[in-house]
Symmetry: none
Subunit: 209 residues, 4 copies
């Protein structure tokens, strides 16, 4: 019964990002999201099951876009190290490019109820899979250490990126997150590599200064 498309659907999701980023998860009342989206409170319930559904849909939309664009960008690559480099760069530049979204994804949405967390876990699995596939591919290609458990390696890669991003959001953002792309790459790449030697970060990925 909930209509999951239309411009109001998108407007509500964008409004939710804005409201949550602005005043935190616990002040994100439905009324405020409705006002920000320019619709009546009740209208939200024409497009979403309930408030939880708004938050989950927000996460699904944003995370889905991210995973899709990452998959697309990596699809043409052959070198596992370059794939890793691009993934890290995408991960950080995406968050740096939308500060509201970064705050919501890294901080606010983690304050949510268990039922929301459960859905979020489900959604994030696609991104997990993407990372794990890169690792498996790297092992198959002989670039990454064959001794590694790809599942454990995925957790380390994701946990590293996530912690770096969270610290950046909480730091009042006095520094550039994307500036950490290279050092993070180097440490992780060395850790993943077969012989402890990782190729340098492919600098053409980075935007020109």
């Amino acid at each position: 019964m909930a209509k999951r498309t239309g411009e109001k659907y998108q407007a509500i999701i964008e409004a939710a990002v804005k409201v949550i980023a602005g005043s935190g998860y616990h002040n994100a009342q439905v009324t405020r999201i409705a006002k920000e989206a320019g619709v009546a409170d009740g209208t939200i319930y024409l497009y979403f099951e309930n408030k939880e559904d708004v938050l989950i849909s927000l996460f699904r939309t944003k995370m889905g876009q991210f995973t899709a664009s990452a998959e697309k960008e990596l699809s043409n690559l052959e070198d596992p190290f370059e794939m890793l480099a691009r993934l890290i760069h995408l991960h950080f530049s995406r968050l740096q490019g939308d500060r509201n979204l970064a705050a919501v994804l890294q901080i606010e949405l983690r304050q949510s109820d268990p039922s929301i967390r459960k859905n979020i876990s489900q959604i994030i699995k696609e991104y997990y899979n993407l990372i794990e596939q890169i690792i498996k591919y790297g092992i198959d290609r002989g670039s990454f250490s064959p001794c590694m458990n790809p599942n454990v390696a995925r957790k380390i890669v994701f946990g590293s990126l996530d912690e770096v991003a969270t610290c950046w959001v909480l730091s009042a953002r006095r520094y550039s997150l994307t500036d950490l792309t290279v050092p993070v790459y180097e440490l992780i790449a060395r850790g993943l590599s077969t012989d402890g030697k990782a190729p340098p970060f492919p600098v053409e990925i980075l935007p020109l200064h």
Copy 2:
């Protein structure tokens, strides 16, 4: 005004761990904690300022014990790799040894209000410092790569351990967290090392089977 010691103080903290682990942060009513601790509701307010103070004190107590025991255990070591190995082992075995506590630390406490989060950040900094000191020490000794930013490396180490632990808590714990000690060590140690070669995990750390 709040008396911060005594056996009832401890009982209330243990009760809070149990109640929060059992029913989640948002269902952790003061009344339930009081009942679990075997005291009256009002008694909690003789030992704590308010509910928030219970949670922060819980975190301070538990995290403080952990950091202190880690500092103590590492104080006699000379090899940075061995320090890293023991830290990872301690981190995982501690959480595996108290499943309620693990659930509270990894999941529930992260759903709390901004003011609680702020206090938690403050407390966890000591653990951050410990990790960062190990890294700096390793660089000075020539064991860890001198190109690394110790602050970034700290985030990668902590983020990795944290993500592995969180996944374990959420996984219904069908596997042993401490079994991941060695693979996690190997990946991180290789990443940190100067030449991509890390000594094998010192097996005497692990308990005998």
Copy 3:
């Protein structure tokens, strides 16, 4: 934010008068007022900021009506003694006409918190001013003693009426308050008058028996 008009607004105020008169200020739970008004608890907060605001609004509305009707009724008069006579009559007949309101105004509202008292003081100043204007006018006309301090005289007039009314409310009302209009008038009028002679009470004010 609080909508301060509409029939529910009035219904809540009337319900508050009834509940407070019936069970006293300290038993006037929001839930009881809501039930009496035939609305949900939360509805009260659509029309009032909080419970305190209900009480202050109650006083403002009722006292405002009283002051306004007094000003209107006195506006056509020229003789200060007649103005005094009508004021006393209005004061007493108004309270006698609404016993619940009398109990709330004379007894219950005086048990309230300092912040409520402060607002009440502000509101009652208009009534104070009305009395003081009558006295100043009487002095200017030569009817009232020019030696008097109008401010002190106002306190004596109001204090007299207030004490008489309070005693009546507390007396289980075995007598008519309006029956005291004439004796109170005579004493006060003589006290205010220039030469100790006050005209008799204008009997046409009183309702026929």
Copy 4:
């Protein structure tokens, strides 16, 4: 079972005056009164039935002292006007002489529960009687108007003094209450007098400047 004498009994009453005057009726917790009196919480219950009993005893003691000293001071007088003058002077100077007590009697104790108010009414009746006796005596002597109802006159006299005193307490006491003795006397005396002529205030009552 409550021991109603002893130095701790007095100390508790004085402490109650101080605490209530200092932080208002609603912040006058038993614990604070006990601390101020230098006794344990439980000790209060050796001397008083309950908190209400402390407040009522406070009022009884203080009001009793006042009524007694007034009766004594008026007992030698013959002129009703002089009695009135001395009563007003005593009433005001007593309150002005103890600001804490004034705040408690005029403001704070009136915020109390109905049961306390009931006891207070009972206690104040002696003072009411004193005033009424003066009035009856004045009528008998031919000084005061024989048409007056002594009961109504008493309310006017007490209400006037009470309102003047209350306004003074609430005014942040930027003026002298005893300075109002003469004007209040003049207005009331004229109102009570048989012919509208009252003798001037007997200035020897006032302290020399």
